[in-house]
């Protein structure tokens, strides 16, 4: 696979990272990153928490009892919502709304987390916030029982809905895919100015963990094909080469540690929010958060993360990332 030539990845985020393959270079981003790391070290060492960062970390990990505060602190640590949402943007927020279970069962994204992200996007001047997913269960039951619809009601210019029918999708080519070369993808997501992923962190019976990348199964129409026709791990990595969230807010307010993705299983109150811009990095960090599936995994144990990293989607090596950790 290393011999395969990978063309520069289109899009506005992380140009050229695909070619670097982990090599350190005098790339602006890496310079900033090390500067940032140095600053963080300095700040921590000198006990001056209010100091303004000179550079943003790769990941922000915030713990605290209030999920809304955690989300705000995490996004602020990455440079604030203004870095991701511009005035007049059409924003798509993609939570996990797979199952018709109450929030305490941790199979769907915490409604407060979704609401906070929407509020921030609107605060940054978003024209419209579209909250969408293609659920496994009956749409109206999922929207109701998950609490997301009720929690988001009253927000202006915010729409919560499910995408299942043909007119909500467009067939696209996935040029860098190895197996999933074509797929229908939610039209609103393709046309959005900004995509913010708000997955819930949970264990998963066949993908082992389900964080950001596994969540892209909810933006395609025919996800049955991923199981029946393709190799699931490869299909997840393939879709990750195509979908480019500008911001990821991983919800581990409470996490379904076993029996995911549908539960019922062990739910742990991790009270954590992880934010980042690199889906592989966020997911790799997610692996370390809890003993997923009962005994836990190393990042290298998760096939779809490893393959996405190999395909140049992002960085799975946590030791090469700057991570901002704090309590909100």
């Amino acid at each position: 696979m290393d011999m395969v030539y990978l063309p520069p990845r289109p899009g506005r985020l992380c140009p050229g990272r695909a070619r670097m393959k982990g090599k350190k270079s005098m790339h602006r981003r890496n310079v900033l990153k090390s500067m940032g790391a140095g600053t963080v070290a300095w700040v921590v060492a000198h006990g001056a928490p209010s100091l303004v960062f000179a550079a943003t970390p790769d990941l922000a990990v915030i713990k605290g009892a209030d999920p809304a505060k955690n989300v705000r602190a995490a996004v602020d640590a990455l440079g604030g919502i203004g870095r991701f949402v511009s005035k007049g943007d059409k924003v798509v927020v993609k939570p996990n709304l797979g199952f018709g279970n109450a929030p305490i069962h941790a199979t769907t994204t915490d409604p407060t987390v979704v609401r906070t992200v929407c509020e921030m996007a609107l605060g940054a001047g978003a024209k419209r916030v579209m909250v969408l997913d293609n659920p496994c269960h009956k749409p109206e039951i999922v929207l109701d029982i998950s609490g997301v619809k009720a929690t988001l009601s009253g927000l202006d210019d915010t729409f919560v809905y499910t995408v299942r029918k043909d007119e909500g999708f467009r067939k696209v080519e996935i040029p860098r895919a190895i197996s999933l070369k074509r797929s229908e993808v939610a039209l609103d997501l393709l046309e959005a100015d900004t995509l913010i992923a708000v997955p819930v962190a949970k264990s998963h019976g066949s993908a082992k963990v389900s964080f950001t990348m596994k969540g892209w199964m909810g933006v395609v129409q025919n996800r049955r094909a991923w199981h029946v026709w393709y190799d699931l791990h490869q299909a997840v990595a393939d879709m990750a080469t195509f979908i480019k969230p500008k911001l990821i807010v991983l919800d581990a307010t409470r996490a379904l540690v076993t029996e995911g993705p549908g539960g019922p299983g062990k739910v742990e109150p991790l009270r954590t929010i992880v934010a980042g811009v690199d889906q592989v990095a966020v997911d790799a960090y997610g692996v370390t958060m809890a003993p997923w599936g009962g005994s836990g995994y190393r990042v290298e144990d998760i096939p779809h993360i490893v393959r996405a990293a190999e395909m140049g989607v992002g960085n799975m090596h946590l030791d090469r990332l700057t991570i901002h950790r704090a309590s909100a």
């Binding site: 109450a102 305490i104 269960h137 729409f159 995408v163 909500g168 609103d188 066949s206 029946v228 549908g262």
Partner: protein
């Protein structure tokens, strides 16, 4: 004493409002269920259905209270239900006007009594069959058919129209910025062929109007017959003053031909209190008022002793034949019933096949079946998991059932009201057969009943029967094309006439896990 006049116009308004209420209540039979309104109010009011269910099922049907109230009111006021409230009566009357024209000549004279005894005969058949433990009212009850007409014809058609126009107008809504409408994904309801059956029944009933107005109500309707038996003794009568000019207008306009050759008299068992006679009388001689009045000396039941015996024998034969229905013996093992359905023979005796549960089921899992349940199970609701699973958050079917054929369950009891067991067919499963990475049955199982075990070194899905609720989430979601690789069978189902499902499940050693709804 001031005489009370009944005019046809307020009646028409009342009919329209009550028909609208009937449709509105039926539209509320869905998930989430409104607790404030009785979605099955009209069906509960029908004394025939609850009487038959109670007798045939040997059980107390709470709705019988409403039925008795209606019968009592009928003794006081006559068959006002037929003329003012019955949704089927209203539909027949209006379609009759539309198709044949109001007051136009028909094949038969209005006051001619054609087959008026048949309705009593049908009633006798139903009651005799009920004594034998068989339910037959569903085949002829007007409220049942009206419910089916809306649940199986009007609602699916409206839903399909809404679904196609939501996609058609999507760009329009979008350009207007009405995003909620633009993104509303209306899924058309999934329905079997019973809409056609309901429609044919209705067309047939309207076609009978060629002979006489409301022919169904006069001669065939068993609910009308039951109410007529009460209305014989009514205390609210049609009265004709002495200045009547005997032109016979009243007899010609009478909705049910209750006025014969002697215009000063009428048959209170046939009269539906529509007041057309009073309205048509230009001399104002006809009034309706409490107290004894111009009833025919002997209100007629048009059913001779010989005919009654004949119909009773018919009921007994029909019931015996249904009990002996050879297909019925197999149903226990073939058909899946909704959670909380009574034990099969009680279920068949009490279920009136009205279609409320089918209408209410949010996933369309519940469908009417033709003959899969034997002749005795005609049109009864069955669970078709490939269409949709029994959602863990829903107990709508039991709540809307008018006769208690499906018990009212809370969400915890529902968890234990096991529908059956899921069985994996390894030859069709992409994990067992092809070693693919699939867990769709597992991820969709709300009860955690799919276990993964090592078989010859490979991880394979297996069903833990003690955890399986039979909800069919697996069967519905299985990504294999066509018939699912995992299917639910009734084996292991819990069907209780009384008592707690949780307790029974505990006795059987089941470990069904209930997810608290918070």
């Amino acid at each position: 004493m001031k005489r009370l006049r009944i005019w046809a116009t307020p009646r028409r308004i009342a009919q329209a409002l009550l028909l609208a209420l009937f449709v509105y209540l039926l539209s509320l039979a869905r998930w989430p269920l409104s607790e404030a309104l009785l979605t099955n109010a009209f069906l509960s009011l029908d004394p025939l259905l609850s009487l038959q269910a109670a007798v045939a099922g040997r059980t107390w049907v709470p709705a019988l209270v409403y039925g008795i109230v209606l019968l009592g009111t009928t003794v006081l006021l006559g068959r006002f239900f037929c003329g003012w409230m019955c949704p089927m009566g209203t539909l027949i009357e209006w379609s009759d006007d539309l198709v044949f024209g109001h007051g136009k000549r028909r094949e038969r004279k209005n006051h001619e009594r054609i087959g008026r005894g048949v309705k009593y005969g049908i009633l006798v058949v139903i009651l005799i069959a009920a004594i034998f433990g068989e339910g037959l009212a569903y085949l002829v009850d007007p409220i049942c058919w009206a419910t089916r007409l809306f649940a199986y014809v009007v609602w699916p058609v409206a839903g399909t129209l809404a679904a196609s126009s939501s996609s058609l107008f999507r760009p329009v809504f979008e350009s207007l910025g009405w995003m909620n409408l633009a993104r509303a994904e209306i899924t058309p309801p999934v329905f079997g062929p019973f809409g056609v059956v309901a429609l044919l029944f209705f067309v047939g009933v309207v076609a009978l109007g060629r002979w006489q107005r409301r022919f169904w109500c006069r001669s065939l309707c068993p609910l009308g017959a039951l109410l007529a038996l009460a209305a014989r003794y009514t205390w609210f009568h049609r009265k004709v003053a002495a200045h009547c000019t005997a032109e016979g207008k009243c007899s010609r306009v009478c909705e049910t031909g209750a006025i014969g050759e002697d215009y000063s008299r009428y048959d209170p068992a046939e009269c539906i209190q529509c007041g057309s006679c009073a309205k048509s009388c230009h001399t104002g001689a006809v009034t309706f008022a409490p107290g004894m009045g111009g009833a025919a000396k002997e209100p007629r039941v048009d059913l001779s002793r010989r005919a009654a015996t004949f119909w009773m024998a018919g009921g007994a034969v029909a019931a015996t034949w249904l009990v002996r229905d050879p297909m019925r013996l197999t149903t226990g093992d073939e058909l899946l019933r909704p959670p909380g359905a009574l034990p099969e023979s009680d279920f068949l005796a009490t279920c009136v096949r009205c279609g409320q549960c089918v209408k209410a089921c949010p996933t369309h899992m519940l469908q009417s079946t033709a003959l899969a349940g034997g002749v005795a199970g005609f049109m009864s609701p069955t669970a078709r998991m490939r269409l949709g699973p029994c959602d863990q958050n829903c107990t709508a079917c039991g709540a809307v059932c008018p006769t208690g054929a499906i018990r009212v369950l809370d969400l915890v009891e529902k968890t234990y009201a096991k529908i059956g067991n899921a069985v994996i067919e390894p030859g069709r499963c992409v994990v067992w057969e092809q070693g693919r990475v699939c867990l769709v049955c597992d991820e969709n199982c709300p009860y955690g009943a799919i276990d993964w075990k090592e078989v010859e070194g490979e991880r394979r899905p297996m069903v833990n029967e003690n955890k399986c609720n039979g909800c069919g989430a697996c069967e519905h979601a299985c990504p294999v094309d066509g018939r699912s690789a995992i299917r639910v069978y009734p084996a292991g189902q819990i069907r209780l006439a009384v008592g707690s499902y949780a307790e029974e499940a505990g006795l059987r050693g089941l470990i069904l896990e209930s997810r608290s709804p918070e």
